[in-house]
Symmetry: C2
């Protein structure tokens, strides 16, 4: 019997491609788009790629690294703003970054802890530094400012997680919001007086105010001499 030149497997599968970090991250983005981030697990992804979960650990150290890589991939779709002065362009860029994360708040949670370090994230930092430089922000303040601006964007998106995934959110609302309204005006007079203000505004208004507050603060707050 002659050795066959046919592949050993009889089943004609869609030609299982070789694993690679890029391929894994691409598949992860696909699963996330189709089924949400909560389905992007090492096990589910291995299943998608027709292998066992252990194989993924050849390319990724852990799940947090996977999430960071997914965000970096998403960041590739972020276009640098063109119109307006430097402040408007900073706000536009950060609003775009936040909008991306608002669609996947779970990603924001992950990324707060294990930040991306890929090309697109570096481009975002570079662009922000260029805009702050254009606005005359001193180097030290700009460097620390980028950090705090991105932290605010990421944390604001992360706060949405849980509040959106389940439909429970609407009638359950928020225990804190209820507590703020039901407060005793004798023990907590200022909360009682300001309860309207504490939860006022749309998410967009608060985010925009946050970026402007941060920008004003960064412009006017020197970093300590030792760190400069």
């Amino acid at each position: 019997m002659q050795p066959s030149s046919e592949p050993r497997s009889r089943r004609e599968r869609p030609a299982k491609p070789a694993l690679s970090r890029a391929g894994i991250v691409g598949a992860a983005v696909g699963v996330m788009r189709a089924e949400g981030l909560q389905k992007v697990t090492m096990r589910r992804l291995a299943q998608e790629l027709d292998t066992g979960p252990a194989s993924l650990y050849v390319y990724l150290g852990n799940t947090a690294e996977l999430h960071a890589a997914i965000l970096d991939e998403l960041l590739g779709t972020l276009r640098p703003p063109v119109g307006g002065d430097w402040r408007e362009r900073v706000e536009d860029l950060l609003t775009g970054y936040t909008a991306l994360l608002f669609e996947h708040p779970g990603l924001a949670r992950s990324v707060l802890v294990s930040r991306p370090s890929g090309e697109h994230y570096l481009n975002l930092i570079e662009t922000l530094l260029a805009l702050l430089d254009e606005g005359g922000v001193p180097a030290g303040q700009a460097a620390w400012g980028v950090d705090i601006l991105l932290q605010h964007a990421t944390a604001t998106a992360a706060e949405q997680s849980g509040r959106d995934e389940s439909v429970v959110a609407q009638d359950d609302w928020d225990a804190l919001t209820r507590a703020l309204h039901g407060v005793d005006r004798l023990t907590h007079p200022r909360i009682a007086a300001l309860s309207g203000h504490l939860i006022s505004g749309t998410p967009e208004e608060r985010l925009s105010w946050g970026f402007n507050t941060l920008l004003n603060g960064v412009l006017g707050t020197p970093t300590p001499p030792g760190a400069r």
Copy 2:
């Protein structure tokens, strides 16, 4: 045979106390102090309280609610600052809050999503509002300011999680830090020029600068007319 007035159980256990929300949260704090937050799971806690995990769901809606309740409990140990002007007292109070979370960064992660709504958290908000009022911060700015100040503190603590639990952290450091240093100065000139500044300063210096930046921004940034 006379019915015995003895308890049905022969084993003299440490008198298993009736379940209550406060008891569960207390036990959770105990487990956290002894073994870390990662061990505070519904199952582990049920074991600690000599019952099944389902019993806990009579008192707590989910794990996030448990974590929020733990932080509120911890917040009971936070003493309002006494010395200095209003700005120093704000910074002291927020530094104390952050220090609490630095010891349990996982708690900060949870709480970013599902905030506490207990007595001690309300006291913290009330105290902050009083201090901002003392500083002459307009009501709308103070209300939104408290939110952004607490967010910065919480997010900064959350960023520590992962970086501390494992000893890997030290030599692994941070992929982003490495990426910032290894950047190409042709494609990312500003990162290359500022790489020293981007990671400079101690955590304390950066946190303090963050609070001051926020305070300066809050003082100088009016909230939008509609939301006011």
